[in-house]
Subunit: 244 residues, 6 copies
């Protein structure tokens, strides 16, 4: 099976890191197609970046659908454009934020999220509320590490993130930790060993959930909010997207 | 004061109707600048249309900011792109969906929304939950009238919407009605007279709220989620938008 | 248009301060009629004061209705007697607590309230829950400044309130501040300048909302909980009130 | 022990009926002192009646406190003035609405309330939400029987109330029924026999809860919202009440 | 009347302490039958102990029903097996955890629970959420005192519990305290005197609530979730229990 | 990898059906070990059956742990004993109820559950509330088909279940259906084809989630509520279970 792994920002080094995390857990027969848009924000930090990365993301979702992939992963922790992507797709679409939260809910009563900038905290809280999992999340913590600093070689990002994990376990009664950025995908294993609780990152979680949905032959519902858009005359560059 | 009234879809007749509703209630010194994007969906019916209308909408918000408007109204009932617009703007930004819900909350304990297609109901419910006003809304009802049919001369849209209003009063214990589409802006007065309860439409409500915020000198908070995006190298057509 | 601005406590200096705040934002054609009851508590600090100020308040609402005002403002932050007032009135009735919370919700994702005594915090929390806006409020903080100390010339009230505002921004992730007492109406401007976030006080907010409702021709719903009381034989001093 | 049973409306026949219900369940050593105000509304149907009955109610609570009663019962199903009464009292104060809801929660997973007029439904819903028990209540149903009709000899009130009970069991999955008016106190036994589920009325429930609290030596908390009002110069008829 | 007081763990000294607390508040005509299972965990600290104490508890509930008791008390603060017991019983069944929470709700707007080990906190939080009373509980605090240490003569348990009570009043705005373990039944009186707020323990609370329910002739609903189990062929030791 | 699939009731034909559903989706290298207790209830219909099946279930979980399985599935839709099992296990434990709800949440905004008897509805609602997913569930519907009738050859169970599915899509706006009993595991495929929406059954869903968790090397958290029980002297048959 082929999984369409879309990094909605334009930073290729992050796509590579995400792809590696995906391939590390993919089942033998699973092929990971890792892409990112050519145009848009180089990282997604807040509502504006999020909105502006959606068209590029949707183009990649539409391409994946045409190619007949078994499922899609949206590889940004704020699950950028998830609902719109589901309107376009019949194959399952899983965001890495929701994937990590669902997985954490299966092994711990209560988890905490450690993300990058505090400006992203409200969006993550709203997502959890919408998914229904806000009551399972003790707190969304910001490490104040900008997304692209996670790509920098000599940053102290790891230390700051670890500090928030320690605080979440000690102060928030968190029983598991969710890493709140795709760029942290390489850190889950060592943090899990260091802190002795499940530390979950969303890219690998989403890949396994898409594999699971595909094996179950469960597809995106086309009744209600995710039904295909009514036919109408779009103008401009998105026309091709909708009419494809 | 000038208010930037943005219809996020491309249908000019709808912009005209919205502008008329806005001007009918605007204070003497208020100038309504009514615009719509050149490109994008001709109506917004569901998550995909919504996502694809955001870039065009944001360009109009950015233009309004550069021109120094006193405030912005997003004239689609799903409050398209509201959070992203607030990142771009310092002047207040009010969506017509939230405006109508806030106004209804001030004159009735419990209101119902009557919108167009059932595929839009979940998005409206999510918005209300996020605003905090879901507990004030008895039900979001769909009339199964497509948005553009509201522009058609001989449609029975009015009858179907009225039927849902009657049902909301009778079955949902609604004490006020919110009309859930910008295209219904011309119907509030007569429905209010017909049913004897407040019937609120969002365009006029949003205009008056923006005027109120401007008079109060209350601007969009720049602490937290609506702070300006961190500077970084966007690529593609949105670059100008962010760097403006 | 005339707005009936009712201070439900008996302290005339507070009425004067409230009236000044109201007139500072009122539109050119708006006349503010500022009154307070002759009898009752000199300030409203907790449930008992609140209950005992209601009859005097309602008498002023009834008078305003008879005089045909365009709307009423209840100028105490716990929105004293709001529901009962709406039963009496056909014109809109807006409490300053709800007004400030609604306004804050339009410019910030998350606000905090800074009020006077801690004994008032539960009532304010209950009001926010009822309005549906509790999820938008990070915390209701008490400054431990008694209401009437706000009228005293050499008090350090301002400093203590400012301390709580600083704490709310730093510790509660508040993006806007709501001042939780009518007696703080003169402080919003300077605190807003000092802290760089929207600081909202309810008297001015309520005046602008009543003006907005009046311009929209939206009145208090008479379907359901705010329908006029059934006719029956009241005894005692309230008889006139109901039978008016 | 003496229990101060206050009917907050002025209808003496209802006080007599309430007193009988209370005495029927009171323990051997319990004396029921049943009173009602001389002035105020003859029945409480909605927010206005409720507000105007509070001063008379509070005078009776204050009298009971001075007399050293073991506890107070507020015998109106909307728990009129409950919070204000708790500020005045050190002995426990129990409303019949909350009493019935707490009792129902101990013998059924899910109960329904059957009350008088639909205009009272929102107030009862708000009370349940505040008490925390809204999630236990399937629905608040109105029988459209005015309060005073319950005192009328040949009314069909009993039949209409029974119809709502049947509907609650059949349609709302109610496992117990709470009778939502003090004037229904005499109907619980026969409805319970007729419908085969617990049918609970609040007067007897409140009497037993006050007896329980008194035996446990548990008094109203004076920390926080129910602390005595700060001393200050009330004017008018309520002065004596507060300064007593 | 006879009340079947079941300690679901096997520690006889704890049963004796619980029985003493029950008898201290029981009405003159009430006989307390205090029992515990012969087999099972010696204390209940977490989900596993809880699950394994249920069969022994249910056998005692079934015995009490056969003997015609007026009601049952489950004397463990996590209300072990409460729902299953209600399926077996027609007489009322009250858990000490729910009893204490309901009682606290009648005398304080907001209470805190102080329990033993932190591993029990999630279960207590879930119970409160289910009862509907989570919104009344400021926080569930752990004192990190193991249950059986409460039976030890020279422990510093009392000091640690007192420290948490002080913190709850100071930091959580708790207006009343609920002691979260049957083994703390002897401490309520002195803590109440020491801290000046109501301190409630569940054993005495549950006894008084069962007496109240019995006097009201209110029994466990047999409509819905608590209806007797459908007849079917159980195998093994529980057969007798179900078929009795 | 080996998965320990535990049917908590004693009906072997149901175990066989469940095992078949599990094997139909298991990955090539996954071995399904399907067991049920020797003693206990033959089906789980309500709180009492549930409580009495837990000891037998836990013995099978403990056995699986000793054998080093990769994960456990609890194959009853009420997720019998899930929390207690997690205390015993280090490998992941997934209930089929939670599995189906999480899977449905990934492909539909809103799902409905169709279960067997109405007496089980409250327990399922409580589970969903605890998991956090109640807001995603439109309604839990009962088909009034007893569990064991699903094993009967000529029952009309399928028709009654289909009727509820149709009603959920039409009346509850359900976009996906969750089958609420392990005994319905063979019906998902045909119902999905018949109704055109995702129809999800929990056995296969849980197997794929356990495989996913195992591949992610995510284990049950041992911090907090699922930490191993403190050592202490259990008496009776459960001693071996805890001390193993």
């Amino acid at each position: 099976m082929r999984i369409n792994l879309v990094n909605p920002n334009t930073t290729r080094s992050m796509t590579a890191k995400i792809a590696a995390a995906a391939r590390a857990v993919a089942a033998p027969g699973t092929e990971i197609v890792a892409v990112q848009p050519d145009e848009g924000p180089p990282s997604i930090e807040g509502y504006l970046d999020e909105a502006l990365s959606v068209p590029g993301l949707l183009a990649e979702i539409a391409r994946g659908e045409r190619e007949g992939v078994a499922g899609h992963v949206i590889a940004c922790f704020d699950d950028t454009g998830l609902d719109a992507a589901r309107v376009l797709a019949r194959a399952p679409v899983v965001g890495i934020g929701e994937a990590a939260a669902h997985v954490a809910s299966l092994v711990a009563g209560r988890f905490a999220v450690v993300t990058t900038l505090s400006r992203s905290v409200p969006a993550l809280e709203h997502n959890l509320a919408r998914y229904g999992l806000a009551s399972r999340c003790a707190r969304v913590r910001a490490s104040d590490v900008p997304v692209l600093e996670l790509e920098a070689p000599h940053s102290d990002a790891r230390g700051r993130i670890g500090g928030e994990i320690a605080a979440a376990i000690r102060d928030d009664r968190a029983e598991a930790i969710v890493l709140g950025c795709a760029g942290m995908a390489d850190l889950a294993g060592e943090f899990s060993a260091e802190f002795g609780v499940p530390v979950i990152e969303g890219v690998s979680a989403a890949v396994k959930l898409v594999e699971a949905l595909a094996a179950l032959r469960v597809v995106t519902s086309k009744a209600g909010a995710y039904a295909p858009s009514p036919r109408k005359a779009y103008s401009g560059p998105f026309r091709a997207l909708v009419e494809a």
